[in-house]
Symmetry: C2
Subunit: 286 residues, 2 copies
Amino acid sequence: MIPLYTPECRQCKSCLSKKTNLCTAIRTTQGKGVMPDGTSRFSYKGKTIYHYMGCSTFSNYTVLPEIAVAKIREDAPFDKSFYCGCGMTTGVGAVVITAKVTPGSNVVVFGLGGIGLNVIQGARMVGANKIVGVDTNDSKEDWGRRFRMTHFVNPTKVQGDLVQHLVSLTDGGADYTFDCTGNTNVMRQALEACHRGWGVSVVIGVAEAGKEIATRPFQLVTGRVWKGTAFGGARGRTDTPKFVDWYMNGKIQIDPMITHTLKLEEINKGFDLMHEGKSIRSVVVY
Amino acid sequence: MIPLYTPECRQCKSCLSKKTNLCTAIRTTQGKGVMPDGTSRFSYKGKTIYHYMGCSTFSNYTVLPEIAVAKIREDAPFDKSFYCGCGMTTGVGAVVITAKVTPGSNVVVFGLGGIGLNVIQGARMVGANKIVGVDTNDSKEDWGRRFRMTHFVNPTKVQGDLVQHLVSLTDGGADYTFDCTGNTNVMRQALEACHRGWGVSVVIGVAEAGKEIATRPFQLVTGRVWKGTAFGGARGRTDTPKFVDWYMNGKIQIDPMITHTLKLEEINKGFDLMHEGKSIRSVVVY
């Protein structure tokens, strides 16, 4: 079983549209930190503790609505396949479901954390040609190449304009770009590094509150497309098991991304490692 | 024959991609106002006059590169079907080719000039459900309804927020919106009036130099798509004849849009009428 922060009720307008994974069935109660019946199932010393992102997985045990749980194959090891409920599906799904990257495409990925590395894996899986990783942290180059990134660009070491550099590197611009940074300036660069006529830029990163993206509309009128994705466009219950299959079949790797194994008491150390750029993904063992 | 401001060489990377109509074959020379061989074919009292937008149609006779001419059926009246080389194809093509509006969709059109009215016609042709026109000029309501617009909104008369008003009117947001104003604030409203999860907003209008569009990236991450179109995404030589057929078959009207017939000497009067919002399309007779 994999907990889903976006459920799939298969009955709301969004689920029935078949055009989005953003099920709205329990959005209001989830936003309030409670179950669909309006109650919380957690307490500590008699005081109510609220559910977190619908999943409350910073816990040994949790309670979820039935529509927010994906059933996966029984031979999948939980301490690895849990990642299909988060960054793996977000990154690979952005490539496969949201952007629908085609074989032979040139792809640029901004930000090589867990999401960006999974975008690289997705791009490789579908037969992309050039897979360019962009990160200000040089230590990410080895990480990217491990998953078949073909080119690495550190923006702080590029002479001149980064967008022009990337456009040259991809023969006129990338067919697909992905922002995995949450930085709105980078989102703009990602759009503008797209090929005239057909380049598609996908925003995956979550920006700071109040920040806005901007560009000249000419970028769109000349054929670039700006879109975004949440959970890689994957419908939780329907698609997550497929991503688990891809892991189990060796199409997508997860094991090398599990950089740290911690105890639940060390959870804040996990956040520290992430902020310091030292981890890709930590896993908690009980 | 219809002159094309965007040619179709069928040999450049863009044409061969089949993903865009933005042929690049003669972009450099056209931008300089000359023919592909670097010369101009116009002069006045011995002084070179440059070609304009590749077509130079403010003239009794013109010379065009072969790849910038569409051959159309011989029974099509030229003083009407010329519009298939301009606003009719731009508006209808934005619906049919760029956005691919599906039957039963709700559509919002910002700006009811010639382009906006043709977007309305395109939306009707493909079986859209609600077709909402937005314009600050009340006299445009009759124009819109003539082409089967179903709702009219004058933003200056809406109490409260225009976007919220449009979202309510379209049951959660439009499936497709079109900016036909060139105003970057309107382009933002058009995006944000789209339905969460799948709404697509298409920029058709050309903005003032230096103006930028902006929004919170959350709008994209929650499923809205921002794109643009030039000449409705139509490939000049391949698609323009189809638009002429639609006119000749009565699927799309042109005749009621020809509001003024002028002589070439009166061409500046044509621009005045347009700026005053009094014309949809003027035609010059020789």
